[in-house]
Point group: C2
Chain length 277, copies 2
């Protein structure tokens, strides 16, 4: 079952990290002029601007603000670091509120010096601590399961099932899941867990890129859609049939593309989006 091909850019969102060499102003202007519809802003991209100023630039450009990346990194064996992480997440929520971003993506974190189950408890505690602030600013929290290759330091939540379990625990309209094809394409329970997530109205975000064969660097060698082995249209079909009607967000970390012309890269993204998403 393959979905209908994408004929327009009305659901295309790009993450600023994808075009990391661009300033936030250039990113906003270029995305908008190319007909891209949404933008997800990374917190390293603010440059000289305040969050509220960036929010204004986005609205003025005609782009839709999709999400702020990223919160999370809650676990640590060190209590002071856990407290600092919670404080930073509260700050991120305030920034999202100021920017007009309706959502924050949570890369939940892990500490390799302690069991993953304990890290998950600390993630739970962290989300619990920041949720009142999310409610105050009406910012949704999207738990992103990360590929098990990142279970050492980046996330103790490594499957859609674990993300769904965590979101279910909170049972809040503001706590859901971000589905990124890179992290979960290999999982034999994927279709079931996507439907479980959508049926609970917790499917908050859909990120696309591709898994290159071979992958030369596990963090910074992600592929453009179509360059790898992920059946993105099939996963998009599952996501959409689970009730998701939000943006298809292009999030690519690639040393190779960051070194290339960002104008040409943006053209490639748009072509790949039409053909392979």
């Amino acid at each position: 079952m393959q979905p209908e091909p994408i004929n327009d850019l009305s659901k295309l969102c790009i993450h600023t990290i994808t075009t990391k060499p661009l300033s936030i102003e250039d990113a906003i202007n270029k995305y908008a002029s190319l007909g891209v519809s949404g933008i997800t802003v990374w917190r390293d991209a603010y440059g000289p601007y305040t969050p509220s100023r960036i929010g204004r630039l986005i609205i003025d450009s005609g782009l839709t603000p999709v999400a702020l990346c990223r919160g999370g990194f809650f676990p640590s064996a060190n209590e002071k670091k856990r407290e600092a992480a919670i404080a930073d997440n509260i700050k991120a929520i305030e920034e999202a509120g100021d920017m007009g971003m309706p959502m924050i993506v949570l890369v939940c974190g892990a500490d390799p010096t302690q069991p993953l189950a304990l890290s998950r408890e600390q993630i739970k505690h962290g989300i619990e601590a920041v949720l009142p602030h999310a409610e105050k600013h009406n910012v949704r929290l999207a738990i992103e399961p990360l590929h098990p290759v990142y279970a050492d330091t980046r996330s103790a939540i490594n499957t859609m099932k674990q993300a769904n379990d965590m979101a279910d625990h909170f049972n809040s309209p503001l706590v859901g899941v971000a589905v990124d094809v890179y992290h979960i394409w290999w999982d034999e329970d994927l279709q079931d867990e996507i439907h479980r997530c959508g049926n609970a109205n917790r499917l908050f975000a859909f990120h696309v890129c591709d898994w290159k064969v071979p992958t030369s660097d596990i963090l910074l060698d992600r592929g453009l859609m179509g360059e790898g082995c992920i059946n993105i249209p099939l996963i998009r079909e599952w996501v959409n049939s689970a009730g998701f009607s939000g943006f298809n967000e292009v999030e690519i970390f690639s040393e190779i593309y960051w070194k290339s012309s960002q104008d040409e890269f943006l053209e490639k993204i748009i072509n790949a989006y039409r053909l392979y998403v």
Copy 2:
């Protein structure tokens, strides 16, 4: 619950790939002289010898033959390649028989141009095709689940659950599972699936190494036990309490250690084995 520390080398087995620079003769002699008890031979290590000659060298050294590595790599979109893989697995089974190896480890394979579910069907077909040969030579087949980071080209079987499901399908005393801590340490169902495996008498092998933080190369930067974030003693306790009483096999792929003195590396392995397995 931490297990009893290991006080002797009676369950220590080393894979020849761990000391890749050594000839098979040197590996056998050095392992034996250091008090190592078992050896798992990789098929790239034969050098000038026939499998039966290697089997004789092993017996003469006093080492116990543990396993031959490796069979598998069954899936391909190309039928001729699938047939060639089956033929090669039959050859490996005959080599194991000639060498006196009671077991072959299966790295089952995957083809990134086709769905993982189809690759798993081809794995099933491949095992089915070679099982009569395994019966003839009385060689056990140990399905090794590989970390999801290898789901593109190395294995469509990425969790203990999937390996157990596959082994259950055959319901043969000759088809079981090889548990390698590197591949499955992140899995929240690990303890349950290890017990499921052991209770069915299908826990055939236990491999140890460590997951370095950070890992610089996903294939060839495995750590010595104690160098990484895996709680090996806990997993060993689960494996042993599931009824496993076989060897603890040290299987480390490391460009760093391969470049070092293999004599010093073997000393480090033995120290790490006593302290961190």
